[in-house]
């Protein structure tokens, strides 16, 4: 066992350094003005690029909408004929169905009309009335789709 010499633990030569009591904040690479101007410039440039594309997209949407507008009367004319045909079928069916029922007048509920129609306008009847002689599924199929039976949408 070697002889151990006693060594007193002492401060380094020249003493300890000053105590760091401030918070260590790294220095930014760019100044605040520069950061903000770069951010603004980048945003404006992105907006300009987006807006150029947006104008093109709007033109394309307008073109598609116009295609629909142009064809709309053609489809509407056919749809109105089908609608009236179905109304006619409904009335014939009601005549046939209720012929043995005493006191029943077609188009009325025992003589009382379901719609107040003094001016004799065209009746936009309810969906249930329109599909009265069909299966319930026919109605839900139509009401759930965009080709709704309603005449004026």
């Amino acid at each position: 066992m070697a002889s151990r010499t006693f060594k007193q633990d002492m401060p380094p030569k020249g003493g300890f350094g000053p105590i760091e009591w401030t918070k260590g904040v790294p220095k930014p690479k760019w100044s605040g003005y520069k950061q903000f101007s770069v951010f603004t410039g980048f945003t404006l440039a992105s907006w300009a690029i987006w807006y150029r594309g947006e104008l093109v997209r709007r033109r394309e949407m307008l073109e598609m909408r116009e295609a629909r507008i142009a064809v709309y009367p053609l489809i509407e004319a056919e749809r109105h004929r089908l609608y009236l045909m179905h109304c006619r079928k409904n009335r014939d069916e009601e005549n046939e169905l209720m012929k043995n029922h005493p006191g029943w007048i077609t188009g009325t509920l025992y003589g009382k009309r379901p719609y107040h129609n003094v001016r004799g306008r065209f009746i936009d009847q309810s969906c249930e009335s329109f599909y009265a002689h069909n299966k319930p599924k026919d109605m839900t199929d139509n009401t759930d789709s965009k080709f709704y039976h309603d005449l004026w949408k």
């Binding site: 064809v71 004929r81 409904n90 065209f122």
Partner: protein, 173 residues
């Protein structure tokens, strides 16, 4: 239960006309040229519908529209069949909404053919979206008569009303 037997509903013979049997891609592809070709007919029909709000009264206009559609697509089939077929087949597969932007090359070929054979330009962008004035020969339908119940009798005039009874205890009142 909405129409009595006295109400006018057109018969099946009036409502049955040959309908255009075309798929959506064909209509989408030919829409702009069709709309320009049948502009007056279509506007007449839509004006009738918006004025009367009655499909029964616009049947003849609607039949004209369908007839005009037959005329236009018949001419296209006769004169520009090949160009149009290429175009609508492209439109058919260009996305879920049948966008026209993917088929510009076929579109220009088709438009040139229409210009050559039918002498019609493609309508400029915004043509159908603008408000367009339509001069119609059909007079504007008058508003339907509105029969009202008889007026109630006039109330009796106050001048001829008898004097009310005097106060029973104070005759000066």
């Amino acid at each position: 239960m909405s129409y009595t037997n006295e109400d006018y509903l057109p018969s099946f013979e009036e409502l049955t006309v040959p309908e255009i049997q075309l798929t959506s891609a064909v209509l989408q592809a030919g829409a702009h040229q069709y709309g320009k070709y049948c502009d007056d007919t279509n506007k007449e029909f839509m004006l009738c519908i918006s004025e009367t709000k009655d499909p029964r009264k616009c049947l003849s206009e609607g039949k004209e529209v369908t007839k005009c559609g037959f005329e236009f697509f018949g001419k296209v089939k006769r004169d520009c069949h090949e160009e149009f077929t290429k175009y609508w087949k492209c439109v058919d597969v260009s996305g879920t909404t049948m966008e026209l932007k993917g088929c510009r090359e076929f579109q220009s070929i088709f438009d040139n053919c229409i210009k050559e054979k039918l002498g019609q330009d493609r309508p400029p962008l915004g043509y159908f979206s603008k408000i367009r004035v339509h001069e119609s020969k059909r007079p504007k339908p008058p508003p339907l008569p509105h029969p009202l119940p008889d007026a109630l009798p006039e109330p009796p005039s106050l001048d001829k009303a008898p004097e009310p009874n005097m106060h029973p205890y104070n005759p000066q009142l």
